[in-house]
Each structure stands twice: as structure tokens, then as C-alpha cells.
């Protein structure tokens, strides 16, 4: 059904919300695990964390940033629909917000990949 039914804004937004939600949950577990490395001393922690500065991890970080950004922005859209009667405007709301966050995503990933952010 998911394959054959027409994908419109709402279903797309929902599916991506789920996908990014699960992805960020995985990261949360990983991130908390990394923090336990603080107990193993300076060198162990630094090694664990600097592993993330390799190019592949930088790209993953940019993706993570995108996932979190999307989840947050779409989450706000859901709240607007639920509490502020924005159901009729949901399409415009979605694409408008996506436009704005695309700009934020480009800026953010550039900062991450160019190592200005660590």
C-alpha cells in the first residue's frame, strides 16, 4: 500500500518524521555511550571523540544535523496543526518551512564540514 498509494505532502512529512526520529534515537544512544568514555581518562575520550572528525563522520554529522533540523521543524508544524488549527495550511506550511530549513541546512553542513564547528 505504501508503495502504490500516491505520496503527497502529508504522508511524505510523516514518513520522514519517523525515519529521522528513529535515526536520531540511535544517535542518542551512541552519544550517551561516548560520554561514558569521560571515565576512561583524557586520552581515551579524545580518541573516541576525534574519531568523529574523519571525513566520513563529518558527512554523517551533516546528515545528523539535517535529520534533527527536519524533525524539529516538522514537529513545530505538527504542533501548529494540532493546537492552532493549521490543518488547511499544512501544505504551504510544510514547503515554506522546508525552504527555510534548507537554507539553514546548507549553512550548518558547511560549518560542520569546513571544521568551523567541532
Amino acid at each position: 500500500m505504501f508503495l502504490r498509494y500516491k505520496w503527497e505532502t502529508g504522508m511524505l512529512a510523516w514518513a520522514m518524521h519517523r525515519l529521522t526520529g528513529v535515526a536520531v534515537t540511535f544517535y542518542l544512544f551512541l552519544h550517551v555511550y561516548t560520554m561514558t568514555k569521560l571515565h576512561d581518562g583524557e586520552a581515551a575520550y579524545n580518541t573516541a571523540v576525534s574519531a568523529f572528525s574523519q571525513p566520513m563522520w563529518k558527512a554523517a554529522e551533516a546528515l545528523l544535523f539535517g535529520a534533527v533540523l527536519y524533525h524539529a521543524v516538522n514537529g513545530v508544524r505538527i504542533v501548529l496543526v494540532d493546537f492552532f488549527g493549521a490543518a488547511r495550511q499544512q501544505r504551504r506550511l510544510f514547503w515554506g518551512m522546508m525552504g527555510a530549513s534548507a537554507a539553514a541546512f546548507v549553512l550548518g553542513s558547511w560549518l560542520i564540514i569546513s571544521h568551523a564547528v567541532h
Binding site: 528513529v22 542518542l28 550517551v32 560520554m35 583524557e42 586520552a43 581515551a44 575520550y45 524539529a72 505538527i78
Partner: protein, 136 residues
């Protein structure tokens, strides 16, 4: 209309997902800004050359910031587990399987919270010396 009381199944899960969601947008922004764009205030001038370990310990030994991070952790844990539970109820319909899944998610959430607290709670300034000692 004229309402008194309603059923009691699932409304908190829905409501707090939204409350924690909005709270997370704000706390995550702060978490991100502090950890990636700011030096720990104790670190001093631009020529500071402390390691990531130094930065993390300095930040987390501030009781206020530690409290903030622990709050953030709890919010994120709740929101993540509650989200998984929402997906679970979409897919799993048999009552027994649902209960099992619920317990599994709660367990995972508790494990995450415990690991996070034990990692962060004991950190103070002494760790700067201790961390270096552990390395030698």
C-alpha cells in the same frame, strides 16, 4: 458538549510528546550552541589549547550546566521512547505483544538514563588532573 471526564488511554503520551518536543527544540539549540560554538568560560583567551576532554570536563563541572544537560537527557530519553512507543502501537496490535514492547522500551529508556547519569553526574574540576593521570 458539556464535558466532565473522558477515557484515559493515550492522551498523556500524545500531549507530552508535544510538550517535550517544543522543550527539546529550545534545549537542543542551547546544547548545540554551548558545545560547538562556545569555549568553557574558565578556559580563558583565544590561545587556549585544551583538549576536547578538557572542554567537556570544564563545562560539565559547572553544576548549572550539568543540571541543564541532565534535564536535556531526560527530555530526549522520554521523547525518543515515547516516539518508539507510538510507532509500536501502529504496528503491534495484540495486547500481550504490546505490553511486552512497552516494557522493552521502558527498560531501554531507563538503561539509557542510568548510563547517562552515571557518566555525567560525578564530573567535577578534579577530573582534569585525574583524566591526565589516567592517561599516563
Amino acid at each position: 458538549m458539556a464535558v466532565r471526564a473522558t477515557g484515559n488511554a493515550g492522551h498523556w503520551s500524545w500531549y507530552f510528546q508535544r510538550v517535550t518536543g517544543i522543550a527539546l527544540v529550545l534545549t537542543l539549540a542551547a546544547h548545540f550552541a554551548v558545545n560547538h560554538f562556545m569555549r568553557p568560560p574558565e578556559a580563558g583567551g583565544a590561545d587556549w589549547a585544551g583538549s576536547l576532554y578538557h572542554a567537556a570536563v570544564l563545562r560539565l563541572s559547572n553544576p548549572l550546566y550539568k543540571g541543564f544537560e541532565l534535564t536535556f537527557l531526560m527530555l530526549a530519553t522520554y521523547h525518543a521512547c515515547n516516539g518508539l512507543w507510538a510507532i509500536g502501537r501502529d504496528v503491534v496490535t495484540r495486547p500481550l505483544a504490546r505490553t511486552a514492547l512497552f516494557m522493552l522500551i521502558v527498560l531501554a529508556g531507563f538503561a539509557l538514563a542510568v548510563v547517562g547519569w552515571t557518566a555525567i553526574l560525578p564530573i567535577d574540576q578534579d577530573w582534569l588532573a585525574r583524566g591526565a593521570a589516567a592517561t599516563q
